[in-house]
């Protein structure tokens, strides 16, 4: 278990419900958990209420890239908005850096948002009446930073996201991808610890989306923010996430690393997503190898190699191959049979 201080956001039995008298119904009882929560959520829905988030228990670690994944209407955006308190949760606990975040005053909330949080929106949320540089500098202006400093800082951010020379354009003069770069620059301007991204790439063309994902990964290797990222695209989630929470009807169905989810989906619902996923790009050698420290003469695979790469290596060389870690030390072996089983989707017992 990680230490408490390693956790940026923690949700404990968090609920968000809509509808007349629904929140009161929830408040009138002890919060239901697990299976009980599912039946209770169904009950609420049948009486006309909406359960946007139900019985959410999550710990998001410092520096972790955490993805909330689900189809539209699954409550992922609402859950993220609860975490930033753009929406007030109906019940449960929300901790930020171990402190109760729900009880902070309006004023404290304002100051936390000014310094600690940044957010990127699906439809960019750029201020139409401001130029790119004014948009990016806006959070700094709110902080009360003087004109010159914020111009310098904003230009720096614009440079960082690759929009050099567009600083005096207006949002409507930019393409979708460029707009979202502005959105990203703005959300990073105050150097927040916590970075919320609400389906940031879903309004973009597939090609641009791919590019932007790469950009995002590049930025994350530079800054190591705690990221909460919402998407309905399972492939995107798998590509970006350290861990994914899959949501359905307001409840979390499964939480885990991409590999864990692909290799062992919790139920049929998750399995549906996994079916579409390119297993060869997700599953890594580390999950397939047999531990062994026996030195080998033949050139080996590295642990963080994907199944795809491992297959082509294996096809070239054939036979049992050693697996080495970053330092080149052999830590295991892998057989072609194992690779083939993983490819076919059969449950591979890699323990």
């Amino acid at each position: 278990m990680p230490q408490n201080s390693d956790i940026t956001i923690e949700c404990k039995q968090l609920w968000k419900v809509f509808g007349e008298g629904v929140a009161e119904k929830l408040a009138a009882r002890t919060l239901p958990q697990k299976e009980e929560a599912i039946t209770f959520a169904d009950e609420l829905r049948q009486s006309g209420g909406i359960v946007a988030s139900g019985d959410i228990n999550l710990q998001i670690k410092r520096g972790e890239f955490f993805v909330l994944m689900g189809l539209s209407g699954s409550g992922k955006s609402t859950l993220m908005r609860c975490m930033s308190r753009l929406t007030e949760p109906s019940a449960g606990e929300l901790l930020l850096d171990g402190q109760d975040f729900l009880s902070v005053s309006e004023k404290e909330l304002m100051s936390i948002r000014r310094t600690k949080m940044g957010m990127v929106f699906q439809h960019f949320g750029l201020f139409p009446h401001m130029t790119v540089i004014d948009n990016v500098a806006f959070p700094l202006k709110v902080q009360g930073v003087d004109e010159k400093t914020r111009q310098t800082k904003a230009l720096e951010m614009i440079e960082l996201v690759g929009l050099h020379g567009r600083d005096s354009s207006y949002p409507h003069q930019l393409s979708g991808g460029q707009k979202q770069r502005v959105g990203i620059a703005r959300s990073l301007a105050v150097d927040p610890e916590l970075w919320f991204l609400d389906e940031p790439f879903s309004a973009l063309d597939p090609l641009i989306r791919w590019q932007m994902q790469s950009e995002l990964l590049r930025l994350q290797t530079m800054f190591h923010k705690t990221i909460v990222f919402v998407t309905h695209d399972f492939m995107e989630a798998v590509r970006l996430a350290d861990r994914i929470a899959i949501m359905k009807d307001g409840l979390i169905v499964q939480v885990g690393t991409p590999q864990e989810i692909v290799l062992s989906p919790a139920n049929d619902y998750v399995a549906e997503f996994v079916k579409e996923a390119p297993r060869t790009k997700i599953i890594k050698v580390s999950q397939l190898m047999e531990e062994s420290s026996a030195a080998s003469t033949s050139e080996g695979l590295s642990v963080d190699m994907t199944l795809e790469d491992a297959l082509s290596w294996s096809a070239e060389r054939g036979g049992e191959l050693p697996v080495t870690d970053e330092s080149g030390k052999t830590i295991g072996v892998i057989t072609p049979e194992r690779l083939a089983t993983a490819l076919s989707g059969g449950k591979s017992d890699n323990q």
């Binding site: 753009l86 000014r114 949080m117």
Partner: protein, 689 residues
């Protein structure tokens, strides 16, 4: 009818009503109170309001008079400055502004317009008008902005502002003047305050709408940056809503001008509206035409410049920004030139009206020649309309058909013939088309026989309430019943019927004329290109300019009022008919063509049904415009509510003015509610995707 079981339950109440109407008419002598609203049921609400107002005025008089004095000061200052400035300087200033707003073309248009104003000898009155507008507009904008924000932010604002706006916009313009007159005392400042209040609803609506339309992500982005509520409003939401708010600014400017002109009936400021009005009263139409044209030009210049700023494109904006220094230099230069002219004591002499005199005399002569030359024809036109159209609507065939008017006696046999013929037509329609069609014809036949003023109040109110109920359900019916009750109990019924009759007569013609032009414009781009700017200009002209040309030819009277209303109210019918027909998707037309429809089939069976919802909005607007113009038309002699408001104005009778004004607003709102409810029901699910 009785044999047909398929007739829906909705038809039954109408049958009852028909029977009840028959009874009321058969026992007209003993049931007189059902026929004519008894005078002793009327409550003297106007007197009560006046008494309350007197007490109230005594109480607040020091405050209101102080406000009046405070407002009067900048108004007079601005007027003096505008009149002191040599006119070439002002003209150059406006032309520069037009250039800045849009470009060289608008600059030339404005130059020509202003040159006309300067040379016509109406420069100083125009500047007085501009002084009123110049003070009223910022007041109105501030007021509108504040109320608009309150309507968006506060719970109370959300609830009370929309209905108040509805009343304010349907309340006739003159009705604003009376209470303000009483509160602030006679004087031009009344016009100023009335204009500021009258013109703020469009600003309120657009600010409210603009704030509501700010995308929630933008608001969230601001919140996530940690803005305070003040920063959120002034740094993010208002600027983001600016495009919408600018539309409101343009509308407010135009409404202010319109009201400033109307308010000139109070007099005392020597403005251009007063010039027109006093020359009309003296029947010097040549002069009033010249002065009226000045008003039209002022309206066009103000509208084009302000709407150019609303729709300014990026290229112009960028150019302006790049040439910032140049514009600034031009402005400074202008001020220097102004100072030099003044220092040298050069007088450009705007009061020299010899040119105007000659022009207006020439115009007067020509007009008189026309009026004398075609006198018989004009009288014939007027009488034909009056005897065969207006009179039947007002008092019905029952009384309108006389040897004097129609040339024959309306005999007992003819009356029975009329009744039986209509009954047969109605039954046939009900049987073969639908009961609603039959009912509509029956109602029309009934109204034409008795006239709006001759039909018993009980029958009319019941019919309207029943209609409201079937169209819009309980709430609309209750609203209608209460409104009609108010009109009855305050003794405004007969006046209201006269208003409805004239307004209705004008609306029918406006709609027929307007939609015919609209159909024509929709079928040809060339026609549209001609019609559109004319229609746009008609919309910006302050209402009472419309009176001048009709007065010249037809003198004071109801026919003149009718024409004035039509001249104003037919524009929305054109616009909405054209846009409705043009909105029909070309794909659907292709489908129809491909299926071998004839052009007339395409028009009646594809285009018209699809355009009907939009055309109905046009009809609704036509009615609202008709009501708005009705009060202005009272200036040329009508006998309805408009006249009452006008009387109240001259007698400073707040009670009468408010009640007559409110009655008018209620009539307009009833019509609006019923039509909208009916349209919502009828066109539900028809919205094309």
């Amino acid at each position: 009818m009785k044999n047909d079981n398929s007739i829906s339950a909705n038809a039954l109440p109408w049958l009852f009503l028909a029977v009840a109407a028959l009874l009321v008419h058969s026992f007209a002598d003993s049931l007189g109170w059902l026929h004519k609203f008894p005078a002793d049921w009327v409550i003297p609400l106007a007197d009560w309001i006046n008494k309350a107002m007197d007490t109230f005025v005594e109480l607040v008089k020091p405050v209101t008079r102080a406000i009046a004095a405070i407002l009067e000061w900048p108004m007079i200052l601005l007027r003096d400055v505008l009149q002191w400035t040599p006119w070439p300087v002002t003209v150059a200033g406006v032309v520069l502004l037009a250039w800045h707003a849009s470009g060289i073309r608008l600059a030339i248009v404005c130059l020509l317009a202003l040159l006309y104003i300067a040379l016509s000898g109406y420069w100083n009155p125009s500047m007085s008008t501009m002084a009123l507008v110049g003070i009223a507009v910022p007041l109105s904008l501030l007021l509108g902005l504040a109320i608009g924000i309150a309507a968006d932010r506060t719970e109370m604002g959300k609830r009370i502002v929309p209905p108040i706006l509805d009343i304010m916009q349907t309340m006739p313009t003159f009705a604003y003047l009376v209470p303000i007159l009483v509160l602030f005392g006679f004087g031009p400042v009344v016009g100023l305050i009335a204009s500021a209040i009258y013109a703020c609803p469009p600003m309120v609506r657009n600010v409210h709408l603009g704030l509501k339309q700010v995308p929630y992500e933008i608001v969230e982005a601001a919140k996530m940056s940690g803005v305070s509520s003040y920063q959120r409003l002034f740094w993010v939401e208002l600027p983001a809503a600016m495009a919408q708010i600018k539309v409101g600014i343009n509308q407010t400017i135009m409404a202010t001008l319109s009201m400033v002109i109307i308010a000139s009936v109070i007099g005392g400021f020597g403005d251009i509206g007063w010039e027109v009005l006093s020359t009309i009263r003296k029947a010097r139409f040549g002069e009033s035409l010249l002065a009226g044209f000045v008003i039209v030009l002022i309206a066009i210049v103000m509208d084009r410049i302000s709407s150019a700023y609303v729709t300014q494109d990026d290229i112009t904006k960028a150019k302006n920004l790049a040439n910032k220094k140049l514009w600034f230099t031009a402005a400074v230069l202008l001020i220097v030139i102004c100072a030099v002219i003044k220092a040298l004591g050069i007088d450009f002499g705007v009061d020299d009206s010899s040119l105007t005199k000659a022009a207006s005399e020439w115009l007067d002569q020509k007009l008189e020649a026309i009026v004398v030359g075609y006198g018989q024809l004009l009288t014939d036109i007027k009488n034909t309309f009056f005897f065969y159209y207006l009179l039947p609507l007002r008092i019905g065939f029952n009384k309108a058909i006389l040897p004097l008017t129609w040339g024959f006696e309306f005999t007992e046999a003819m009356r029975w013939g009329y009744a039986i013929a209509m009954l047969i037509i109605c039954l046939a329609l009900a049987k073969f088309k639908s009961w609603q069609t039959g009912l509509s014809v029956a109602a029309l036949a009934y109204l034409l026989y008795y006239g709006l003023t001759g039909a018993p109040w009980m029958v009319l109110t019941s019919a309207v309430i029943l209609l409201a109920w079937q169209a819009g359900g309980r709430s609309v019916a209750i609203f209608t019943a209460c409104s009609l009750g108010f009109i009855l109990i305050t003794g405004m019924w007969e006046r209201a019927m006269l208003s409805i009759y004239l307004c209705g007569a004008a609306v029918i013609l406006s709609f027929l004329l307007g939609s015919a032009i609209g159909v024509w414009a929709a079928s040809s781009d060339r026609v549209s290109a001609v019609v559109r700017p004319i229609a746009d200009t008609f919309q910006t002209i302050p209402l009472f300019v419309f009176l001048i040309p009709v007065l010249m030819f037809f003198q004071v009277g109801e026919f003149t009022a009718l024409l004035a209303i039509i001249a104003y109210a037919f524009v929305p019918a054109i616009r909405y008919t054209e846009s409705g027909l043009r909105q029909v998707s070309p794909q659907l037309i292709e489908v129809a063509v491909e299926q071998g429809c004839t052009p007339s089939q395409i028009f009646w069976q594809v285009k018209v049904p699809l355009a009907i919802p939009t055309i109905m909005v046009g009809l609704n607007q036509t009615i609202m415009y008709g009501f708005a113009m009705l009060v202005i038309a009272a200036l040329v002699g009508t006998t309805g509510l408009g006249q009452q408001i006008f009387l109240a104005l001259s007698a400073a009778d707040t009670g009468l003015g408010l009640i007559a004004g409110l009655s008018m607003a209620l009539l307009a709102m009833i019509t609006d509610r019923i039509m909208q409810a009916w349209a919502a029901k009828k066109f539900e699910g028809m919205q094309a995707d």
